[in-house]
Every structure is written in C-alpha cells, then in structure tokens.
Amino acid sequence: MPALTRKEVEEIALLARLHLEPDELARMETELGAILEHFAALAEVPTDGIPPMTHAVPMDLRLRADEPAPSLPVGEALAAAPARQGDVFVVPAIIGGGE
C-alpha cells in the first residue's frame, strides 16, 4: 500500500465532492498516507475463504404490509431547504450550465 500522491488526494476529493484548500490538500496527503501505511498490516492477514461480514446480527429483510400511511407534509419536508420555489428545491442549472 503505497503512500498517497497529491494527484490522488485531489482525485479523491473530487470523488467525495469536497472542496479542499491548498493547505488542507497538503495535510490530507501527509495524514492519509500515514494512516494507510499504518493499516498496511491488514494485507498480511490470511482471509482466503472467509466471508465478509455485512451485518453483525443475522437478519432477514422484513416487508411491511403495502398500506398507505401518513407521511411528512410537503411544507415541513421543505422547511429546511436553503433555496426553494413553491414546493420544489432550487438548484443551479445542470443542463447548459457549464457541466
């Protein structure tokens, strides 16, 4: 597990949709690299044929009866919207908006 390069840190930040300032990028490069190095020992643990655990307690998917139930009123659900117009959230244009 090699240490991280600055380019990789920038790629991961983009994948995570995180804007990082130059000093944050530098810090992440050092710190994430150190953390990954510390975790390199994991690769040595033999795990062939060991099933990965997804949940600690075995559980079946439960289905509820297909019956209508009350839900949050639209006004309350939208109350915390940073930008809103009537009953919809307002976002920057995604078509023809330069992306």
Binding site: L18, H38, L42, A43, V45, P52, A56, A79, P82, P92
Partner: protein, 482 residues
Amino acid sequence: MTHWLSASETAAHIASGELTAASAVDALLGRIASVDGELGAFLAMDPRAHDAAAEIDRRRAAGEPQGPLAGVPIALKDNLVTRGVATTAASKMLDGWIPPYDATVVDKLRAAGAIIVGKLNCDEFAMGSSTENSAFKRTRNPWDAARVPGGSSGGSAAAVAAGLCAGALGTDTGGSIRQPAAFCGVVGLKPTYGRVSRWGAIAFASSLDQIGPLTRTVEDAALMLEVIAGLDPRDETSIDAPVPRYRDALTGDVAGLRVGIPHEYYEGAIDADVRGALERAKAVLVERGAEVVDITLPHTQHALPAYYIVAPAEASSNLARYDGIRFGHAATDAKSLQDRYMRSRAAFGTEVKRRIMLGTYALRSGYYEAYYKKAQQIRTLIKRDFDKAFQHVDVVLTPTTPTPAFAFGAKATPIEMYQADVFTLACNLAGLPGISVPCGLSGDGLPIGAQLLGKPLDEATILRTAHVIEKVLGIGHPKGLA
C-alpha cells in the same frame, strides 16, 4: 440536592409525591445555568421542559397512569434528532437545523414520561474520542477541567457526571458511549446491534452505530434500556426480540459466572493504575464466586485498522446526503451544481473531511477488495473469536481504555487519537453488547472504567456483573462539585 438522585430515585420520589417533576426540572435548569458555562456540556436547551414537567405533575394529581421515567430529566447527544429543537451533530453543516421529526428513542423516552431538557455536545458527527472535534465548544471533564471528557458522547458523559441530568443518551460506533463514560466516571451501555432502533440517529457508520444510555448507576442503565429497546418498523435492522425487565437481572449474585480474561487486552501500553483497578474488579467478582477463565481473542490487533476502514467507508456514503440542496449548510451563490456540492461540503470539519476522504479512497473502484472487503472479512474473524470465547465464558472483562482521561491537545496525530478506542472497537465490529462501569480512581484522582462484553442480546448478564462491581468499587461524584 435533587440533582444527584439517580433516574430511578427521581422517578420514585415523583411517583410518591415527595418531589414534583416541575421542581426537579427547574432545579436542574438552574444548576445547568450556573455550572454549564464552565463545563460546556449543552449545545441547546429544550424550552418545553418546564411545561412538560408540569404536565406530568398534573397527570399524577389526576390519578392518570404514568410511565417508568415520569418526570425524570434526560438529555440527548446532539446527533439524535428532536422535532422543533435545533439538532447539529456538533457540525456547522447542520447549524440552525430544526428537524421535522423525533428519533424513535425520543418518542419512547417521552412516552415513558421523561422530560427532555436539552442537547449535548459531541465530536462532529460522532467522529472522535475527545469531543475536541465539536465545531461549537469545548466540553471539560468534570473530574479535571484540564482534561477531555472523552468522545464522541463527551457532553453526555460530562452532563451525567456533573449532575446536570438524571441520565443521557449517546451513540456508540466504536466506543463513543463507553470511552467517555470511563473518562467521566459514569456507566455507559452500548446495546447489541439492533437492540435499539437507530431511526433518527444521524448516521455515521450504519453497520456499527447503536444508541445507548449514560447514567450514574447500573440500575438506571437497565431502566433506560427497558424504555428505548425494541423492534421499530422504521429501522430494518432493529431486532424482533422481547425486551426483558433488565432491572430484574440486578441480583447481586455472580456465583458460578464465568468471566473471560482475554490476554490480548492486557498486553502493551496500559496505564499501571488502570491495570490495578482491573485487578481489583476481577478480585471482586472472584470473591463472590465467579470463575476467571483465560481466553484468547487472536484477531484483536486487527480490530483498529479494520474499524478505521469500515467506519469511514460507511461514513463517506452516509454523509453524501449533505449536498447543500435539501437541508444543512449551502453555498447558494454557486454557479454550477458541482460547485454547490463542493463548496457546501467545505463546512465539514477537519476530522469529518479526513474520514470522508479515507472512506472514499477505500471504496474507490479497484481498491474495494483490498480495503473494505478485507476489513469485512476481518470482522468475520473477530466475530468468530468472540463466538468461540463465549462457548467457555459468560462475560469478557477488559479495561475500557488504556489510560484515564487525557489532557486537551494531547493526541497530536489522527492515529494517536484513534488508538484511544483500541479496546472498544471490536465490540462494535462484532455487534455485541458492552458496558463500561467505574471501578476505581487513578493516583491523580481520575476515573477508571471496566468494560464487560456479553453475548448478543445478553445485556442482562453484563448489567448484573457491572452492578456487582459498582456496589463494591463505586467512585461517587467528582470532587469539587457540590
């Protein structure tokens, strides 16, 4: 002096008419106003507390049936959502957010008659081990103001230890209830994964998160678990199993109990006072007829790296919801959607960004097998270690933490901070119940916690064992706090 009454005592005094709920709550609000400026446990107060208490008194006067926590003042870690009361998870991302609903545990507390007094500080999104990652304030340890209360449920532990509420709820993803409970000298219980509904707990790592009580007595932990446990149709992972009356387990009898001592938890850098306190806890159990069994949990050393892959991976996915569009902080002047996402999410603090980055790295195409899958396989190995051990023992006894509470700023790097959780992580990875109970003071007068781990859904046995340790080795309230 009603503030040092336990939750059970408070409920009994109110039920008998010796105390009114309104006077208990008002006295506590006064105490919070005078003490918490220095302590820093609360982020918000619930302005409805007095009226809710008065309503309990009215119902009692009218002879109406009351719940088991009627009139008992309880506070909540600020990552549990409360309808109408600001909920921030100690993050600027959620500064000023007023949730439109209550968490299931909040519904259940209210139904039991509890009075919600306010919201408690924590590490941002529950990511940390000292509460130093709160975006809003520093919470001090009631035993020593120069030291951290632990984390991430540091406000919960500090408030309970300082007599600012009769009990609190926290969340525990890798030790976030048990570690601060140990640092602040209170009882902290992480239930079996699925025992308590997570609906309304702001998600950090969904396969590990669990809500549980922090209290001044083991009896109160049992009582609060009775109230909050159970199946919830709104949480797919909540377990459909009957909720016992956990207080009935507190018999004081540990004769014949098999107590496992895993040598892996007693090797390496452990504070000498912690080691001594654990020896005394063990001796207390042996004197009362318990049998000590040496056991091995051979994959223990891999729990920390496995945890710090699984938890950040799940966090990176869970925290994708903070997109600056539906709620939370938003860069509304952004010119493109991508820019809106990226600049809104800049409101996260350093540790949250670090974990999102780590998790995104681990889940990235081509890296999944080497990290996330590998870590999940190690989880299976850790679970198998416990399954094997529990064929021979009823409980496992370990220190909760390698040292007592450390000073502010003492952990210089992320890895040093992560190591504060070294004894508590495996419990979450394996989904087991775990409790921290005070078992002594260090030479510096700081609390030390003993951790008991149990079989899945066997909270009764760890509570029974903790209760015996508490009776003999209980440490009382912080010196200097009236």
